[in-house]
């Protein structure tokens, strides 16, 4: 994908700041002037407002009731594997020590 140009980045920053109301007062007037003379920027500001509003309204979809039980089972297996592995490592270390002696 094409990387955005520095001009794209600057314009995006102004559009986002304006939409979120965090644009500095000194810049706001000049940005509004630019926006009023350019329908593409107006369209972008409008799209940013509407879409971020809608996305913010989307319901949060959490895990199902089964998740905790499945997670606990998977974690128990993980812990068992960890214990097994550390026992194997200990055993192989002690075997190598025996051989050295």
């Amino acid at each position: 994908m094409n990387q955005p140009s520095p001009e794209d980045n600057i314009l995006s920053e102004f559009i986002l700041e304006y939409t979120e109301g965090s644009i500095e007062d000194a810049v706001k007037c000049s940005f509004e002037e630019l926006m009023n003379s350019d329908c593409h920027i107006q369209h972008a500001v409008n799209a940013n407002k509407v879409i971020s509003f809608l996305l913010g309204k989307m319901p949060q979809i959490g895990v199902s009731d089964k998740f905790d039980r499945k997670m606990a089972a998977a974690f128990a297996i993980e812990l068992e594997k960890e214990v097994e592995n550390s026992q194997k490592q200990r055993l192989s270390r002690s075997n190598s020590n025996e051989l050295i002696r």
Binding site: A47, K49, L55, K57, P59, Q60, I61, G62, F67, A74
Partner: protein
Amino acid sequence: MKASATVKLHQMSDEDVMEQLQAGVVQAFDIIVHRYKDRLHNFLYRYTHNHEDCEDLVQETFLRVYRSRHSYERIAKLSTWMYTIALNLAKSMYKKKKRMSLISIHADESDPDDREFEITDTNLLQDDELHLKLSMNELQKALMKLNDDFREAIILRDIQQLTYEEIAEITGTAMGTVKSRINRGRQQLQELIGDYVHSETF
């Protein structure tokens, strides 16, 4: 572990809880799961729109967090680190299965959007509520049509409410690129759902 110690874990910041996990306090894992399971699920669901795989991805994310606990460094926020793991897992699943583009766009009873839709804004009229619901169904479909880079940036910002700095860290891109993707992605979404949304409603 004593009850008082568990209470202390509950009161700790994410990063302190992670430090406890690194020190061998296994109960810290449960706290992390409890705090992040729904947030990660919501993120992954919006990114993949594939309910079947989502819980497996969330579970795998937590197991990876546990396995890699010693590589976590406190300079990063735990949430950022976890979102990065989840996003990478989702991307590799996407590559393996290459089936997200084949997902049905028709209504599905098992679709949580259909089951759990809820509007909290009581000022909305009934027609507006219906309109909002239709818009959101279209919006989810449109999200799936976006380029992956745009979709992840938009979900992390507008649905997960993360900061631009956090998104830049999770996606491994410059902040200017993140902002540009969000701006362009929102415009593409507006174009995709244009017929369903009248800005006057909002």
